[in-house]
Structures are given as C-alpha cells and as structure tokens.
C-alpha cells in the first residue's frame, strides 16, 4: 500500500442517507406553439 500507507483500522460507515444526488429532473418539453388548424 505504498500509495496511501499501511492500513490502520476498519470503519463501518452507515450514513442515514446515501450522499448521491437524485437522478436528473426530466426535461419538460415546452408546449407546442403551433396551434392545430381549426
């Protein structure tokens, strides 16, 4: 482990909520400005 040195201890990390952002908010297609012919 030359990169980060020797191991010292094991830690169990159990966060109340996983720190991962929500998936992208869906892109809302704007309303079609072209009106249908009457």
């Amino acid at each position: 482990m030359s990169q980060i040195g020797d191991p010292l201890r094991i830690i169990e990390v159990e966060p109340l909520e996983e720190p991962v952002p929500e998936k992208e908010v869906p892109f809302e297609q704007p309303a079609d400005p072209v009106k249908e012919p009457a």
Binding site: M1, Q3, I10, I11, E12, L16, E18, P19, V20, P21
Partner: protein
C-alpha cells in the same frame, strides 16, 4: 466502530469525453448520479508478492488486498500526486491525462490507512477542473449533481511547478483546444483544430 456521516477524502479522476469521470487507468467510469461500488479483483499482497485469493464471500475492500475506492486524507498529498504525473514520475493509461480532482464521500466498509482510505462505496462531493477543461466545469457539475468549479490559483501553482509546457493548439474559431472533441464555446469539432502559427 460505526460512523453515521460519510468520510470525506481527496482524489483525482481522468476526464473522459464527453463528460465522464474515470479512474486513472480509464477502466472504470463513475456513472453520474450513481454510487460506485468497489469490486475485489481477488489479489492480495504479502510483502512484495502478489497472490490470487478468493474474497468473494466478503464485500470489498479487504484488509490484505489492494481493492476499494481510493482517496487521500489530505489535499496536499493529492496535489503532489497530480504534479508527479505531470512531470512524468507516474504514468497513466495511454498517456492521456486530463485531471479533474476534488472531494469524495466514502461509506460502507472503509479501511483507514496512514495517508488515505479504501472504501466500499463512493460518490464525488465537490469537483475542481484543471485548465484543460475549465469551460466544461458547469456542465460537469450539472451532470454529476455536485458543485464543480475552476481550480483555485493556489492549486494551479502547486500542480504546475514541474508540468511540461505543450504547444498551444487552437480551433479554427480561435479558442484553445480542450482535448474533449469539440470547442465548448462554439461547438466546432476538433477536426479543425490547428497548431498556433501554422
């Protein structure tokens, strides 16, 4: 020992077109908005020898192994590693090195080392772009859902101490070539990139 807050470490990624973070070997991509989980390659070290060992019954990382999501404890140690790569003391896959660095949240099973951590799960917490991809900072931040900024000048000096100067290449539009396949300002493809002065 059980901790309820993620451990925060420092690490770097290699930027991969069009907007991904990959490890330095370019063999693992951090998928945006998904935690990354360590998988054991089932190798262990005893002294300088490397042995195959079956760890499949336990989640990575393992105490006698090299598996896990790596991070340093301190930012100066990370900047020193980036500088070493720039100066050729450490190689990366295909010599294609476009670093982006920052903080990473680590959780699950975490092995603390003298200078860093190896973790079971991880996800970037905050990112800083190096000059090659500065214009993409906002976009990368949006894709990954975390703050992403241009690197502070202090870090710039720290990293550039031994970094080689390369020939400045520009797009036909005049913008500096960003190694990402297109000009991030006008979206001209890099097929029109030309070396300055030609």
């Amino acid at each position: 020992m059980i901790v309820r807050e993620p451990i925060v470490g420092w690490r770097q990624w290699n930027f991969m077109y069009p907007h991904f973070l990959a490890n330095l070997g370019n063999d693992t991509i951090y998928v945006p908005r998904e935690k990354i989980e360590a998988h054991c390659e089932q190798y262990s070290t005893i002294g300088t020898l490397v042995h195959r060992k079956d760890h499949s019954e336990q989640p990575a990382p393992h105490l006698t192994c090299m598996c896990g999501i790596y991070a340093y404890k301190e930012k100066p140690r990370l900047l020193r590693e980036i500088r070493n790569i720039y100066s050729g003391l450490r190689l990366v896959a295909n010599n294609r090195y476009v670093p982006i660095y920052g903080q990473i949240n680590l959780w699950g099973k975490v092995i603390e080392h003298e200078d860093g951590y190896r973790a079971q799960f991880g996800y970037p917490k905050r990112l800083w772009c190096t000059p090659a991809i500065e214009p993409l900072a906002g976009w990368i931040g949006y894709v990954y859902g975390v703050p992403c900024e241009v690197m502070p000048s202090g870090d710039d000096e720290e990293i550039k101490i031994n970094s080689p100067r390369s020939i400045i290449t520009k797009y036909a539009c005049g913008q500096i070539y960003y190694h990402v396949g297109f000009c991030p300002k006008c979206f001209v493809l890099d097929i029109k990139a030309r070396r300055k002065g030609k």
